[in-house]
Every structure is written in structure tokens, then in C-alpha cells.
Subunit: 481 residues, 2 copies
């Protein structure tokens, strides 16, 4: 157990639990692959990933985003063209220097992100305000040469699930509108998975390299540390000027385009697993569970035929209603072993079918979230599942938000804040004057990381906890992953 | 025009046509990206790609293949462990040598293919015959440092759509069964897209590096050159011995596992485009068309409201029947321009709606494949589209196979074969004794490439066209891409 009590019963420290669950539930193989910071999506995890990606796609496609696919490799002269950007990334880029046995003329970077490559292309593609706003996205691998300790899905060298969106606009105001749209889309994506979050404007010293400002979504993992799960950047004209994306505006004048970009990575999947899981293993939201309902026939030699016939009927009933159902007919496992196996995999509903169920024309349904068993008559089963499938996600969401909110505290006392961050962890909000000097000092004093400021929060009446002058906002502090 | 007449009317040489179509139909941007051999999937092309990938997935998933995702980077010591394999790839591998500003301890290859990385992992994952057969696949980018002239989708340095399947078996016989299953799956995939092919066992000197043997699917592009569109390899124990994948067999003994692998790339999409297209642009099979039906209202100032109301009704009717329908309401384009635009994009059906259609309660439907117009009454429209959508793919397939077959010829005369390959191109089959010496000599004499031999073909009664001894098979020869 770590010094900090995890906020759900995981039976062990969060980090041990997380690695154990990914392995035993066969989600993601991390640590076996012979290169640091790179993992393998296993079949079961790959399906969860697909369902999560489909949710992301749904929200982006329905708001006019168009999916594309850019090359992985970015020539050095393109990547380094925007000076702030390359300064932020130069320590973190993997470089391809050789093709076969020959050295390359121009080094090629494994994309750390694609603002440079796409803006270069937009200088050819986009000429007129009539084409705007233009919203592109892609879902790809990005690479960061991470020198710190890595951790499955959370801090890796190959981020193998990175959704990056890039938009182009006629003016600054439309960028501001787009930032709000992106924040709204990301809120809906996280909401649909029951992931709680705070939205903060990152401080100047922690914004994306090349952005005017960055807005970030942070969640809390069960050990109380903060995980950044999404960021939205207003890029202004920083990239379009460098790559000369000149656009004819509606008033006939020519100007450089204006941009935003925003990203979500596989940390969204790490969060779903970390936040909803318990000591029995995964707890998956209903709509991203590869198997939503598992049927376990309880058989003796005498009842075998009757029970299997009934079980098959239940299977047909549920799968014809559109659910992903699996009938576990393995002879080598006892029912209890099957229960354990599928609970660990996070299957939302288990339907038990034995001779009593056959005789009573009902089934026994076990809910993975509440661990409760109910008897449901066969002719009510479909409507029962329909109702529970909705309640299920609401329940996961509600308890995740509850735990999350209980760990956010507003404090004006620096030593209390420091103690809070060292015991509970969570997020502390402290009145702040807004100066970089006080912000950095505050982080040092409370031994925490600065998340930034709430988007709309009135701090009048408060004084900066560092310099004592009038506070104009709150600084959020936490221990970051 | 090239010296070789293209076999469909493309209005220009095939290679010019192909580049032109990819660009104007906004499928794939090639040549603008500032690194050789790398292209961009544009929104319209990305959707075509998704529909094709879905077809591939459907056939693999329904035959027990499980999708996974492996890291992109393969450490040098893993990639080079199987000696034949690395010999085949060492000239073609991109190497990552630096992370940030530091040199890496171990060079990392951008995967050219994943036999080595996956077999390494299988040595941990698979221990018993009970887990077999195991069929994995992934759809990823692979990289080849191609020094020849590159060509969009056909010969690139980043193959951004590579489906690689890897299977593991208890014995050689099960590998043989799997090879046949893979050949069957690939046949179905190509059939569903109307891509004609021959299946050949590649000669010894042209098999996959590390395989016992390779079976390949080849098609013909309109210029008569052969394009390899799929390969299936029996790998035997070549990789499992090197990576020590030891498996307990059903008889209790321990043996190294047996493997096959098979791949399909974005050349499948290049083939669809190349084979079905015509001088008006793309012709897409119905089920992979991002837009299956476009509705063009024919409007005058007086009829505007009536026609738009009717058009909307037609739109609702078709989209509620599950088709991907688009209503082109752009005011800035004349109907003729819209016709041209959507024909170029390969939309299978165009529905024209004007005042005459409104009055007669019908629509005018244009088929992109046959270029024919029909009047269809509104209450028969859905069943008409249902029927035509099936006929459409059958028609594309039929005419593609017809053109394909007309270009395959059996010849025993070397100078005639040479002339055929220099004028018609296509595929020539010639009696062959089976010796490597005669095979290589034959390629030289006819100035062609060896595709290999048919899987089951009786050559009795024929003599090898090179040495004159008894032929035991036919060698297929062509000009390869």
C-alpha cells in the first residue's frame, strides 16, 4: 500500500492493481515488449479501444470534423520551422536517420503531434474563407522519447491511440468559438464514459509549445494523482504565419488563417479502467464492453440437456435484441471460476441459468457494478436489460463524480494545502493573484504541480496566498502523473 | 499515351490518369508531402479506405482472427534474429537511432512487417496446443526504404494501410490448412470488390524472406502491368525456433509452433480505383462508396419550392432505407457541373429531380457504371435501388474479369511471348520444367518477371520452353509493378 489510501477498495496499491488488471484481464501487455514504453493491445483490450474510438468519432463526425491520415514521418526542416514548437519538443523526438544502410539526407521525426505537417499541407489546400471553418482529425500513434519512468497507457513512448484534431478559421473569434466547441465535445466524450474532470486554463508556463493558450481536462486516479486526459489549444496564427497559409477572407482581404488543435489519447481508456474498476477487476461501461452479457449455465449430469436448451433460448433472446452476448460453455471450469473470470473482465451483466431458473421460467442476473443479484422473469428480461444498461452507466458516472468531488478542496492555508496534497492528494484550489512568480512559488510551497485556473470563477474577496495582494482567480494544484 | 494501349478508355495514359483521379476526386494527396513516398488520405479517400477495411475485418473476424496492435518500433536484435528474414529486409529498413539529442543504445526499426516482434511475444503468450490455432491480425503502417521511383498507394515508403495476419499452429498440416483458409478469405475479399486475380505459388527465388513458400494474388492494372495485391506465407518453424516458441502438443510432447502469415495493403484500394475507373473518374463499388446516391434538384426560380420539397422527400425515402445519400443543394454550381463533379467522385447513382419528375411522380436515375438513365416511379424507387445496388457490383466484377481474362495467354513460343509482354503486357503462361535455371533464363528471354506457377495445373504433354525437357508446370510471366 502506498502512503495514500486509494479511494476505492482495490485490494492493493493503485499502481500494482492497474498493472495487474491490464495483464489478467488481457487488455494490454506492458513490460514484455523488448523496447521501453511500448505496449501491445491484446484482443480484448483492442475491442474496448475500438468502442471508445467509435464514441470519439461519433462526437467529432457529427460536428463537421473530417477524418484524414497523415504520414508518420515529419522532415526535420518542417518540424523545426515554428521555433517555440520545436523548443518544446526537441528533447522528446525520435529521429529516423538511416534508410537501409544509407544515412538519410534529411532526418525524419516520428510525429510527436502533427501541427507542423498539417499546416504545411493546408498552405496548398485552403485558399478561401469559403472552405472555412475546416476541421480535420486523425487517430494515430505519436511518439515521445520519455526519459522518466514509463507506465502502461499513462506514460509511454509510443502513444498508440492519439486522436488529434486540427481546425482552421477565418479569424480569432472563430477560433474562440471552436475552443468552446472542442471543450463541449470533450466534456460529452468524458461524460459518456463516466470520467469526471475539471477544466482548467493551463498557466502560461505550462501551455502547449506553440499555442496562445491551452485548456486542459484533468481527472483523478484512485491514488489521488491528477491525470491530464485532454487538451485544447488556441494556436492563433503561430503556425499559419510560419507555413504561409494565406487565405482570402470574406471581405476580400488576404490574411493568415487562424487555428486550434485538441487531443485525446489512450489515457481516456486508462481512466475508464482506473476509475470504475474494483478489487474484482475491470468494471466497464455498458456500451464499451466487448461482451455485455455473459450467460453461465449451471449444469449437473441430469439437468444438462434441459438447462442448455434454456440457456440457448436466453442467448437467442438477448443477442437478437442487439446485445453482445457470450454463452460460456467451457466444461473445464466450474461455475464459480467462470463468475470470477468474467467479473475480472468487467462484463456488466451475468445471467445464471440452472434448473431452478428453467422451472420458474426466470433467470438470475448479477450486476457487476453493484454486485447485486436479481431474479428476472424471462418475458421481462429484454426490457430489464434495456433499463439496466442505461442505469449502469449513470451509476458508474455518479459514483465516480462523487469520489472525484470529495477530493477537490478550496484552501487558503499553505501548510494545510501541502498536507492535503501529501495525504489525500486530490486537487487544491487556492486564491492567486495571477502572477507567474507567485504561481511557481506556490507550487514549490505546497510541493505540488500547477494545473491552472478555472474558466469562470469569481475570486473577489480573496487574497493571493503567496503575496497577499488581491486574488483575481484560483490556482489549482495537485500531484500530477 | 504509353506504347501499351490501356484496356479501358481513360482518356490518357494509365499512370497520368491514376494520379489525376486521386487528386481531383480528393482521395489521396501524393507528391505534396515533403518526404518521398508518403501520402495523405483525404476525407473522401479515408472513408473509402474505412469501408474496404471493414470488409477485410468482416472476413477475418468471422473466421476466428483476433485484432491486436503491436508497437511500431522493433529493436535491431529482434528484427535481425531470423537470418533469412533480415537478409531480405536489411536494405529496406528505416532506423531510429536517436531519442531527443541522445543516441539510442539499441537501434529501433520502423516495422517492415511484424513476424519477428509477434513471434517474440508468442513465446510468452502461447504454451499449449489448447490455445491453438491462434490467429492474430493488425492493420497498421509499415515502412520500406524504397529506392526505386515511388507511386501513390502502389509503391510507397509508408504503406499506411497494411493488414498483416499471423497464425500459430500445432503442426505443419494445420499450417497447410491455414494457407488454404487464407487463400479462400483473400479470394472472397477481392471478389467482393470485383478485383480479378490469379493465384500463383511464387518461385523459390521470389518467396517472402523467412518463408517455406509464398502464394501470391496478382491483378492487372489498365496498362497491362501486374500488381501483387496479397501474399500468403507458410513460415514453418523458421521464426518459432529462433524465438523459442515451445508448445506442449496434444500428445504431451514439446515442439516449436508452426506459423503462417499473410498480408494485404492499400494496393487493394489502388486496384479498385484503377480497375473500375474510366475517363470520367472514379467508379466505386456500391458498398464502399462514401456517398451511394446523390440527389440533384433541377431548379428554376418558379419551380424552386416545389422541386426542393420533392427532392427532400426523395432524400428522406432513400436515407431512411439505409443508403448513404447526399442532396447537392449548392447554388453556385449548375446541374451539369454537379453531374460532372459526382461522376468524378464515383457516386454509383445520381437521382435527378426536376419539375417534370415532380409532375410525373418519378425520378430520373443515372447509373455511373453503365452511364444509363432510367425513369423510376417514386413508389418503386427503393426496390429499384435495392436491385441495382446488387447488379452494380456484379456488373463491375463481370467486366473487370472479362478484361482480365482477355489478357492472360498461354504461349510456347518465346519470341511471341516477348512481343506479347511488350505490347499487350498481361500475363503469359509458358510450360516450364521447374528448374531455377530455366525459370530465370525464361524471364530474361521474354524480358518479363516471374510470377510463379498455378496451384493446380496439369502440364503433361508440354515441354519446357527453355531446356526442352518434360514440363511439370507452367511459369507465369508479366511486367510487374
Amino acid at each position: 500500500m502506498s502512503e495514500v489510501q486509494v479511494y476505492r477498495d482495490l485490494g492493493r496499491s493503485f499502481s500494482e492493481w492497474f498493472d495487474y488488471v491490464l495483464e489478467v484481464a488481457e487488455v494490454y501487455d506492458y513490460g514484455r515488449y523488448p523496447a521501453k514504453g511500448m505496449g501491445v493491445w491484446l484482443p480484448y483490450g483492442f475491442k474496448i479501444r475500438e468502442y471508445v474510438i467509435n464514441i470519439i468519432r461519433k462526437f467529432l463526425d457529427s460536428t463537421g470534423h473530417e477524418e484524414i491520415l497523415l504520414p508518420l514521418l515529419i522532415p526535420e526542416n518542417i518540424l523545426s520551422k515554428e521555433s517555440e514548437h520545436i523548443k518544446g519538443f526537441e528533447d522528446q523526438v525520435f529521429w529516423v536517420t538511416h534508410g537501409g544502410l544509407e544515412p538519410l539526407d534529411v532526418k525524419l521525426a516520428l510525429r510527436p503531434t502533427s501541427e507542423t505537417a498539417l499546416t504545411y499541407l493546408e498552405s496548398f489546400w485552403i485558399k478561401s474563407y469559403r472552405q472555412l471553418p475546416k476541421k480535420f482529425y486523425q487517430i494515430v500513434s505519436v511518439f515521445r522519447y520519455e526519459t522518466r519512468a514509463t507506465r502502461a497507457m499513462i506514460r509511454v513512448r509510443e502513444v498508440s491511440t492519439f486522436k488529434e484534431a486540427h481546425t482552421l478559421h477565418e479569424d480569432f473569434n472563430d477560433c474562440e468559438r471552436q475552443v468552446l466547441e472542442a471543450v463541449d465535445i470533450y466534456s460529452k466524450i468524458f461524460d459518456s464514459l463516466g470520467i469526471p474532470y475539471v477544466i482548467s486554463k493551463r498557466p502560461e508556463w505550462d501551455k502547449f509549445a506553440g499555442a496562445i493558450y491551452t485548456i486542459a481536462f484533468d481527472t483523478l486516479l484512485p491514488d489521488g494523482r491528477v491525470l491530464q486526459i485532454g487538451t485544447v489549444h488556441n494556436l492563433g496564427q503561430n503556425f499559419t504565419k510560419v507555413f504561409e497559409v494565406r487565405i482570402q477572407k470574406s471581405d476580400g482581404s488576404i490574411d493568415y488563417g487562424w487555428q486550434t488543435s485538441y487531443g485525446i489519447s489512450e489515457r481516456i481508456i486508462a481512466s475508464v479502467i482506473a476509475i470504475h474498476g474494483d478489487r474484482r477487476g475491470l468494471v466497464l461501461p455498458f456500451h464499451i464492453a466487448p461482451i455485455q452479457i455473459v450467460i453461465i449455465p449451471l449444469i449437473t449430469a441430469e439437468t444438462r440437456d434441459t438447462v442448455l436448451k434454456y440457456s440457448k433460448k436466453v442467448f437467442e433472446l438477448l443477442s437478437s435484441s442487439g446485445y453482445r452476448v457470450y454463452e460460456d460453455l467451457r466444461d473445464e471450469l466450474r461455475p464459480g471460476e467462470k463468475f470470477y473470470y468474467w467479473e475480472f473482465k468487467g462484463v456488466p451483466l451475468r445471467v445464471e441459468v440452472g434448473v431452478r431458473e428453467v422451472e420458474g421460467n426466470y433467470v438470475t442476473v448479477f450486476r457487476r457494478d453493484t454486485l447485486e443479484r436479481s431474479k428476472v422473469s424471462l418475458n421481462e428480461l429484454v426490457s430489464y436489460v434495456e433499463r439496466v444498461s442505461r442505469e449502469y452507466n449513470e451509476n458508474l458516472s455518479r459514483r465516480a463524480w462523487q469520489a472525484f468531488k470529495s477530493r477537490i478542496i478550496r484552501l487558503a492555508d499553505i501548510s494545510k494545502a501541502k498536507e492535503y496534497l501529501n495525504t489525500v492528494r486530490g486537487i487544491v484550489e487556492m486564491p492567486w493573484c495571477g502572477s507567474q512568480e507567485c504561481g511557481l512559488k506556490l507550487a514549490e510551497l505546497v510541493d505540488g504541480d500547477t494545473l491552472g485556473t478555472p474558466l469562470n470563477e469569481d475570486a473577489s474577496g480573496y487574497n493571493c496566498v503567496v503575496c497577499g495582494s488581491k486574488a483575481n482567480t484560483f490556482m489549482r494544484l495537485a500531484k500530477k502523473y
